[in-house]
């Protein structure tokens, strides 16, 4: 991380790393569809598959940041479309709480997103990744005292 100041001057060498927890039924399938339809997006995201977005313990998100993630996404089914009836409602509630908590901890709100991506929304998955990468490129790395 010593070369960060250089990296900031030498613009493009900052490669934000995003961990995306995707539910098996909608958002993982959405990411699959992006592939099937050959929608191109930046290679910054690493997907961890869970059965339901409601499985994602807020502690996972915090842990990902402490391990060096520049951004974290929890992606689930659209409201009322959850494969497990209402797991995504729990995700939404936890997401609100997490955003607040992270901001207090000095992690900018753009670094954490809860997204609803359907299995038919390959394009949306790509847009979310593109949007987050460009947000993170603007922000730069997480301030060291926070991490």
């Amino acid at each position: 991380m010593v070369e960060r100041s250089e990296a900031e001057q030498d613009q493009p060498s900052y490669n934000p790393r995003i961990v995306a927890f995707c539910c098996n039924w909608c958002s993982y399938a959405g990411a699959d569809l992006a592939g099937t339809t050959r929608v191109q997006y930046p290679p910054n995201v690493r997907i961890v598959r869970v059965m339901c977005s409601g499985r994602v313990d807020p502690a996972f998100v915090l842990k990902a940041f402490t391990l060096g993630a520049d951004g974290v996404i929890i992606a689930g089914c659209h409201p009322s479309d959850c494969h497990y009836i209402n797991g995504n409602e729990k995700t939404a509630t936890r997401g609100d709480f997490l955003s607040e908590f992270l901001e207090e901890a000095g992690i900018e709100s753009q670094r954490f997103r809860v997204e609803w991506i359907a299995g038919s929304e390959g394009q949306k998955f790509a847009e979310v990744i593109r949007g987050m990468v460009s947000d993170l490129e603007m922000l730069g790395p997480v301030a060291q005292e926070v991490a």
Binding site: V19, G35, T36, R46, V48, I85
Partner: protein
């Protein structure tokens, strides 16, 4: 380095098979480089690449390699688990490796196909993804799918048409059925009706054979004047307590439960002058008057559709009321079965001929359907022009004030035509211009806005029949809590999936049919009941249910009994045991893992998606290489 969790067991031996998928992956990712990298990762005993891993030689290669290299967990890095996981899992099982020791890495949909113009970065990402897979695989545990025995008996709640049909279907399949009806006799809502659509038989005559069959069936135990007092257990093993009027509750054991509690008509208090004049009644009260032969002589009748529905007292369309009104309108216009209460003697006294409509009916029957329809169409145009013109042939003027007529389906549409042939008038009103019912000098009149003439009109009538929607049973919420199945926003029971699982609840073992899941007519209720019985019979016939292997597991030593997981579980798969500690009902758990993410004590482990496995994956994703 991640902590080694292979415990005292042998060190994991992971085999990694990286697929070129022709050029789908190989064309955009340096597969050889990824394979080489994979072989350097911890616990990887073997790594290779295949042109097509899913082809027969690819699968054989996996099987042979498992034996040759004594592999105990397998990673295939190729396409998506959503399409190909079962195939590779079967291959693993065929070679003696538990299918839960398999991990999928998605190199095609999530890498090569979305980074087609940056091979170097795509190759780096592919290495990261394989590293994540290996990190996860190291912590995998074999899982067993367990079977739970099923009590081959069913419970049907509700003794109306739906409940009786469902009970009879199951009984005919040979399963004992407990049929619980809160009333003192079977028949439900239909028993209070007089006449039905599309049949000349009365409502009671129509359902009598069904009641007789239920009464006669040796497999059906009836519990009349009874209700479900408590329900414990899960699919295959329910302990149900049936309470009766003052009687000792009866305990029964059942494997599956069908909810068929029907619906009730809305009481339109405060709407359209209801109760302000004896001539303002609901359509169900109209049926009762017909049954009791107390309908007065009428000259002019107005139906008001959607009374209380679609944005008034309830938001939805009750579906069946248009057809009911069309049926009743035809019967009034025909004075069928002399429902207007004008007995022949009375008619003779009054010097009026009531045979006239009957004669016309006869003539009507002789005419061909085709002629009738053509004539209907002609008269339809006439209706629009001379709305208050020609009176119907029975001498009763029938007007149906409606927002739009929902005579869905061919048969109902034909009835709608028939009503127009009988000179029943259909007058539209807008949601902002509801008809106004008023009483002037003891006489009823309906004020309405004529949409074609764009002016206010009034129509003197003898009777106003309010077509009120069916609403949920007042005790639906109690039953929904007992069975832990949901109600929709309108208070009706909510099925698991509006299109694909219309008679299932999301909770396994409980099914739904008839008007308790939304307004339905008899034919629809019967179809649903047959469907629900068929669904409910599957576990009964199998004699067992296959529980998900991926369930949550409670660590009793960590659980404090706070009950958060019980609240969070969408499937009621968690309950507190006698010691107040949470326990998982494996047969009911679907493996979403919401409880695991919520437990404040970290006492819940979600099998196959453990904290350890998921965090290992996330950590591997973020490792600097």
């Amino acid at each position: 380095m991640p902590e080694n969790t292979s415990t005292e067991k042998e060190k994991p031996r992971i085999g990694v098979f990286i697929c070129h998928c022709g050029s789908n992956i190989g064309g955009f990712v340096d597969v050889k480089a990824v394979t080489e990298y994979a072989s350097t990762l911890p616990d990887v005993a073997y790594a290779t690449d295949n042109l097509y891993t899913c082809a027969e030689d690819g699968l054989n290669n996996i099987k042979e390699t498992i034996k040759e290299h004594n592999l105990d967990r397998i990673i295939v890095a190729s396409c998506t688990p959503r399409t190909h996981a079962p195939l590779f899992q079967r291959t693993c099982e065929a070679a003696g490796v538990n299918k839960y020791m398999f991990t999928f890495v998605n190199l095609r949909e999530h890498c090569s196909w979305v980074h087609m113009k940056e091979k170097e970065k795509a190759t780096q990402k592919a290495k990261d993804l394989v590293r994540m897979g290996v990190a996860r695989a190291r912590f995998l545990e074999p899982q067993e799918e367990t079977r739970v025995d099923v009590t081959p008996t069913a419970l049907v709640v509700g003794g109306g048409v739906s409940g009786m049909t469902a009970a009879l279907s199951l009984a005919n399949m040979g399963f004992p059925v407990h049929l619980v009806e809160k009333d003192k006799e079977l028949g439900g809502f239909v028993r209070s009706l007089h006449a039905l659509m599309m049949t000349t038989k009365s409502a009671n005559e129509t359902i009598r054979p069904l009641i007789d069959k239920v009464n006669a069936h040796k497999n059906i135990t009836q519990h009349l004047s009874s209700h479900v007092a408590s329900v414990e257990g899960f699919i295959g093993n329910y302990d149900v307590s049936i309470g009766g009027d003052g009687a000792e509750p009866k305990e029964v054991k059942v494997g599956t439960i069908i909810v068929a509690t029907g619906a009730v008509p809305l009481v339109p208090d405060g709407l359209f002058g209801y109760k302000e004049h004896p001539g303002i009644i609901t359509s169900s009260e109209f049926e009762e008057l017909c049954n009791k032969k107390e309908l007065p002589r009428l000259k002019s009748v107005a139906f008001i559709q959607c009374a209380g529905a679609r944005g008034q007292k309830v938001s939805y369309c009750s579906r069946i009321c248009c057809n009911v009104a069309i049926k009743s309108a035809i019967h009034i216009a025909e004075n069928r079965d002399n429902i207007l209460g004008v007995t022949e003697e009375k008619a003779a006294e009054a010097g009026e001929a009531v045979e006239e409509p009957a004669a016309e009916k006869k003539a009507e029957e002789e005419g061909s359907e085709r002629r009738r329809r053509r004539r209907g169409r002609g008269r339809q145009a006439e209706d629009g022009a001379g709305e208050e013109g020609a009176a119907p042939s029975s001498g009763v003027e029938v007007t149906v004030f409606n927002r739009d007529v929902m005579a869905y389906g061919v048969e109902n549409e034909l009835e709608f035509n028939k009503a127009r042939e009988k000179r029943v008038k259909f007058v539209r009103y807008g949601p902002d211009n509801l008809p106004k019912v008023s009483v002037k000098d003891g006489k009823l009149e309906v004020g309405y806005f004529h949409e074609t003439l764009k002016m206010e009109r009034t129509m003197p009538v003898d009777m106003v029949i309010l077509s009120t929607p069916l609403v949920a049973q007042p005790d639906a919420a109690t039953l929904s809590q007992l069975l832990k199945v949901p109600l929709g926003q309108d208070g009706f029971f909510q099925e698991a999936h509006v299109k694909l699982r219309p008679v299932d609840f999301a909770t396994d073992g409980v099914y739904v049919c008839g008007a308790c899941r939304g307004p339905a007519d008899i034919a629809e209720s019967v179809s649903q009941a047959a469907g629900a019985a068929s669904r409910a019979s599957i576990p009964l016939a199998n004699g067992f249910v296959q529980a998900e292997a991926l369930t949550s597991v409670v660590d009793e030593t960590k659980c404090t009994g706070c009950g958060t997981c019980v609240e969070v579980c969408p499937y009621s798969a968690l309950r507190k045991n006698d010691e107040g500690i949470s326990e998982v009902i494996a047969a009911a758990c679907k493996g979403c893992g919401c409880c695991g993410a919520t437990c404040p004590e970290g006492a819940i482990t979600m099998t196959h998606y453990t904290d350890q496995q998921l965090l290992a994956e996330a950590k591997a994703a973020l490792e600097e290489v």
